[in-house]
C-alpha cells in the first residue's frame, strides 16, 4: 500500500510510567502558578531548565521525574500503566517555548508578555494535571497541517 505509512504512529516506542508525567504536571502547575502571582523571572528560568531537559533528554530525565521515582513511585500501589514517552516530550517542548517567551518578556520589561506566556503554559499544565489533557493530540496535527504543504 503505497499511500499508507504506519511507521511512526504507534510502533517502536520508548515506554515510561504514565504516572510520572502526570506528577510532573502537578509540580509544573504549582511552579507556574506561583511564578504568575509573584511575577518571578527566577522561577520561570528554573522551570525553563526543567522544560529544556524534558524536551531534549526526555520527560523521564527531569528533576520532577527524579522526585517521582525517588519519593512517589515507591508509595504507589497497583498496576503500572506505561505510555509512549513522545507525547509528554512534545508537551515539554511547547512548555519550553512559552517559558522562553515569558523570560524574554521579563528581560525586556514587558510584564504583559510575561503574564500571557506564563498564563498559557499554566493553562496547559493545569489541564494535563487535572484532566489528563493531551496537548500533542490537539495541536500537533493542526500544526503540521499548517506547516507542511
Amino acid at each position: 500500500m503505497a499511500v499508507l505509512n504506519q511507521s511512526s504512529a504507534t510502533t517502536k516506542v520508548k515506554l515510561i510510567d504514565a504516572r510520572g508525567p502526570r506528577f510532573s504536571a502537578v509540580i509544573t502547575t504549582l511552579v507556574l502558578a506561583i511564578a504568575l502571582v509573584t511575577q518571578s523571572a527566577v522561577l520561570i528560568a528554573l522551570q525553563l531548565v526543567v522544560f529544556a531537559i524534558g524536551a531534549f533528554a526526555g520527560p523521564a530525565k527531569t528533576p520532577y521525574a527524579f522526585l517521582f521515582k525517588k519519593f512517589v513511585k515507591p508509595r504507589l500501589k497497583g498496576e503500572v500503566r506505561t505510555e509512549d514517552a513522545r507525547p509528554p516530550q512534545f508537551a515539554q517542548s511547547i512548555g519550553l517555548i512559552f517559558a522562553v517567551v515569558a523570560l524574554a518578556g521579563s528581560l525586556l520589561s514587558i510584564p504583559a508578555l510575561f503574564t500571557v506566556a506564563v498564563g498559557f503554559a499554566l493553562f496547559a499544565a493545569f489541564l494535563n494535571a487535572a484532566f489528563n489533557f493531551c496537548l500533542g493530540c490537539e495541536i500537533y496535527l493542526i500544526a503540521i497541517r499548517i506547516i507542511k504543504k
Binding site: 500500500m1 499511500v3 504512529a9 504507534t10 502571582v37 507525547p87 498564563g119 499554566l122
Partner: protein, 137 residues
Amino acid sequence: MNSLTPLVVVLVLAIAFGVWYTRTRGEFRKKKTVNGPKLDASVIGVELGARVTMVQFSSAFCSPCRATKALLEDMVKTMPDVHYAHIDAEANLELVRKLDVRSTPTTLFLNSEGVEVGRAMGTPKRSQVLAAVNAIR
C-alpha cells in the same frame, strides 16, 4: 503587578475547558448529511466492512491513540461485519486534509458504501463504539 487576577482567570478558563474536553472526548458525532467522499481499500488499506468500517487516525505525540487502537482492534474481533483501519495522520496529510481530521485519535465510522456517517474524537468507551456501530445499517 503582584495580583491574583491572572491566576484566577487562567484557572477558571482551564476548568471550563477541561470539563468540556472530558465530556466531548470519545463522543460519537453523527454527520447531518452523509455526503463525504467514498473511501475504499485503495485509500484506507483495508477492505470495507460489510456494514461498518472504523478508520482511526493516529499521530506520534498522542497517548490515547494506543488505547483507542487496542480497544477497536479488540472489538472488531467479535463483529464480522465491522472492519478496522489504522492510519498514521502525519504520513497521510492529503487524506487528513480531505477528511478534515484535526486532532488525534479521530475515528471515522464509514457505512457499507465507504462514506463517513460520523466520527469520534479522543478515546471512546466500549459502549459508545457499540452504540455508534449499531446505529449504522
